[in-house]
Structure formats: structure tokens, C-alpha cells
């Protein structure tokens, strides 16, 4: 079947069209490869963030210095991964690869804002998150990383990664689930202050989300239902604490319980 070869020969392999498409091939492959590397980084970040959250839940209500330190280490490790993302994105349009790393970043927001709440009992702002994602670009000393983009003019400069407002929102929406878990844990541990604090905080976040309503993207609205459920669980827990706390121990047979104060500290009795 010699004709096919003939036909092929018709197409000059070095014609302008073919030359152009060779360029396209390289361009597309480069893009896809970068995308794939980012997906992998994102998966790593997701897993490590989830483990950080589990770690933080290991504390009972009072901040535990050791656990906090360990979580800080883990978050440092995650930030190294985010730095790698930042490196990949040097000179790129962040939004072009956004879908590749958004799951990991959201999970990171969830983890670090959870840690922050435990330490500070406040909401970590987007600005604060982004401030911690400014890195010194000491690429040479790290060498081993697989990133091949070598921009000589970038060396010694500052690298940074910017979490988008939407990723921040989505991370915070997930945070509320962890806060709910923390609340129920606190009740189980006999801590009756934390639940009320958490309830207050969650209501603020819930009010914030209702204020935004459906002006955000679809993914945000979708998480509203879960958020509302979490708030409901926390409100129920506080309600129970209040109801049982206000019960007058009519049938009290023991002598220890004479003051209201004693009722709020049941753990001493238990232990």
C-alpha cells in the first residue's frame, strides 16, 4: 500500500503549519504537566491538613502547648508544599490552574483557621492567612525539588501565594463542621464554657454567611445547609447544658451540693 506513504509525504514535516503545531504540542504538554504536578501537591496538602485537624481534636478543651507545637510543625510542612505551588505559578495566571489546587488550599484554610481558633478564639482573616504565605525564594539551597522553571531574574526574590476569597470562604464553611465536633467533645469532657463560646462564634459565622447569601458562588450556597445543621447541633448542646444546669436538685440526697457553683463543676464529683 504505497499510496499512503505518498500521501504522508505530501505533508511537509517542516511546513509552517507543522512547525506551529509542534510548538503547540510542547505548550500544551507543558501546561498539562504543570497541572498534574499541582494536583499532586494539592492532594498532599489535603491529607496533611486533615491530619493536622485530627491532631488538634486530640486536645480536650484547654489548649495543649505540645499539640499546638506539633500542629505548627505540620502546618509548616504544608506551607512548604504551598511554596512549591507558588513556585510553579511564578509568572503564571493563578486562575488558570486554580481547579488543580483549590481542594488542598481549602483544606489548609480549614486546618489553620481551626488552629487559630483554638489558640485565639477568633476568626483568622484572609489577610493573615496570606501573610503567612510569603516565602523567601531560596531555590538554590533546596535544589532537590523537581520544578524545572528556572527564572534567573526571580532568584533571591520573594515568593508568595494568594488564597482567593472564595477558597477562604469555602475553607471557613468547613471549619464550622470541626467547631461543631469540638463543641460536642467539650460537652463530653464536662467543659461547659467552651460550648457557649463556640455557639456565639458559630452564630457570627452563620450570620456572616446568611449576609452573603446567594451572592457567592454555588459551592458556597451548597455548604450553607451543612453549616446550618452544625449550628443547630451546637445550639442544642448549649440548650441541654442550660436546661440541666438550671435544674433545681429537689431530690438531692447528698450534702455536697448546696451552691449553684458546685453544679457547674460536675467533673470534680466524677473524678
Amino acid at each position: 500500500q504505497p499510496k499512503k506513504d505518498e500521501k504522508d509525504n505530501n505533508i511537509n514535516i517542516s511546513s509552517p503549519v507543522m512547525m506551529a503545531f509542534k510548538v503547540f504540542q510542547v505548550e500544551l504538554d507543558t501546561k498539562h504537566d504543570k497541572y498534574e504536578r499541582l494536583v499532586k501537591l494539592s492532594r498532599d496538602i489535603t491529607i496533611e491538613s486533615k491530619r493536622t485537624i485530627f491532631l488538634l481534636h486530640r486536645m480536650t478543651s484547654v489548649p495543649d502547648a505540645e499539640v499546638l507545637k506539633e500542629s505548627e510543625c505540620k502546618l509548616d510542612g504544608i506551607r512548604l508544599k504551598i511554596k512549591q505551588i507558588a513556585k510553579e505559578l511564578i509568572g503564571e495566571d493563578l486562575y488558570q490552574y486554580h481547579r488543580a489546587f483549590t481542594p488542598g488550599i481549602q483544606e489548609y484554610v480549614e486546618a489553620i483557621s481551626f488552629q487559630h481558633f483554638i489558640k485565639e478564639r477568633s476568626l483568622l482573616s484572609l489577610q493573615e492567612i496570606n501573610q503567612r504565605l510569603i516565602f523567601a525564594d531560596n531555590e538554590n539551597s533546596e535544589g532537590s525539588q523537581g520544578t524545572s522553571t528556572d527564572h534567573p531574574e526571580q532568584q533571591g526574590r520573594v515568593l508568595f501565594f494568594q488564597v482567593t476569597a472564595i477558597d477562604y470562604l469555602l475553607g471557613i464553611a468547613d471549619l464550622t463542621g470541626e467547631l461543631m465536633r469540638m463543641c460536642i467533645n467539650s460537652v463530653g469532657n464536662g467543659d461547659i464554657e467552651t460550648p457557649f463560646k463556640l455557639c456565639q462564634f458559630l452564630r457570627q459565622i452563620y450570620d456572616g454567611f446568611s449576609y452573603i447569601g446567594n451572592t457567592g458562588p454555588y459551592e458556597v450556597s451548597k455548604k450553607l445547609y451543612t453549616l446550618k445543621q452544625s449550628l443547630g447541633k451546637v445550639e442544642d448542646a448549649c440548650y441541654t447544658l442550660k436546661v440541666r444546669g438550671s435544674e433545681i436538685p429537689k431530690h438531692m440526697l447528698a450534702d455536697v451540693f448546696t451552691s449553684r457553683a458546685a453544679m457547674i463543676e460536675p467533673d470534680e464529683v466524677m473524678s
Binding site: R203, S210, E235, C238, V243, E247, I248
Partner: protein, 229 residues
Amino acid sequence: MSVNEMFSSIQEFLSADHDVREDIRKVVQVLEQTAREILTVLQSVHQATGFKDIPSKCLRARELFLTVRNHLGDLKTKFPAEQYYRFHEHWRFVLQRLAFLAAFVVYLESETLVTREEVAQILGIEVEREKGFHLDIEDYLSGVLTLASELSRLAVNSVTAGDYTRPLRISNFINELDSGFRLLNLKNDPLRKRYDGLKYDVKKIEEVVYDLSIRGLSKVQESETAYEK
């Protein structure tokens, strides 16, 4: 008339229609914004401190409803009255929400069920379809069902805030509502599904009343209140 001419005139028509929809969409967005503001105001009653100044919150909400009336007045001018159902989907959601908010305000003020007439009056629209821009009956019912679930939350939080008598009143109110709905023969549609949720609200509130009752808390406060008087 040539084919091209006919299609040109159709395009004019479609453009006009498109413009109407754009106009409606914009007003609806503003309405949603105001509705969210009212929600923020009323939602704060759930907070521990919120139970104290319910009247002032209601006043603030009433003010915002005046803005809503203006927007709805504006909305009416955007399309011919008889095409209400042609564009219904555009405002259906926000109208259900506003119906709920009106029902919530009225409940907080007087602990009564807002009537369809009252909602219409608060929103500055009609009750009867024939008279113009009106409140569709299913949208009214949907708003009332949202109220029920909001009240079950309120029953819980009022206890947390130390108000032990409110849940019983809410319970009676919800029971009446439930009997009302049982008179209706709803189709298998979204409204029916939402109605199925009502029984969970009823149950939830009954459990709150139970919790208070078994601890003698409702009675205690009642007598306390009695003493105060």
C-alpha cells in the same frame, strides 16, 4: 413580509423580552439584598442578648419592609400585570423569603399567624390574582413553613437565654399551624415535601416543652412572673 423581515421583528420582540427580564433580575437582586438585611436583623433574636429588645428589632425590620415595598412597587412597573406567571420564577424565591420574614416579624410582635392579607399589606402587593401583582398562595404557604422551622430554633434558644415560657406558647402556635396544614390536599410538589418537614418542627418543640415540664421549669417561671406582677 419577507422571512428576514419577520425574523427581524421577532428579534425585536425577543430583545424587548430580554430587556424586561434584565430589569426584573436587577430589581430582584436589590430585593434579595434587603431581604438579607431583614434576616440579619431578625436572626439576632436567637442570641442570648437578643431576647431583650425584640420590639426594637421588629421596628427596624418594619422600616426595611418599607424599602421592600418601594422595590416591589418598582418591580410591578417592569412588565404587564397579566404576565405575572410568565416571569414568576424570577421573584418566586425572594417572595417566599419575604413572606417568611413578614410572618416572623408579625409572630415576634403579636405571636399570631400572619394572614395572607397582612403579608400582602406589609409588602404592598395584592392578595387576589385578579387585582395585579400578588402573593401566590403557595409562596405564602412556603413562607409560613419556613417560620415553623425558625420557631423550633427559637424555642431552643429562648430556653438557653433563660426564657422558659416562650416554648410552650410556640408549641401551641405550631400545633394550630399543623392542624391548619392538615386541611390541605397538597400535590406531590416541593411544598408537600416542605410540609413533611413540619412534623419534625412540631416534635422538636414538644421535646423542649417536655424538658422544661419534667424539670418543673415552666411552672417555676410562671409563678416567678406571677410574683413579679
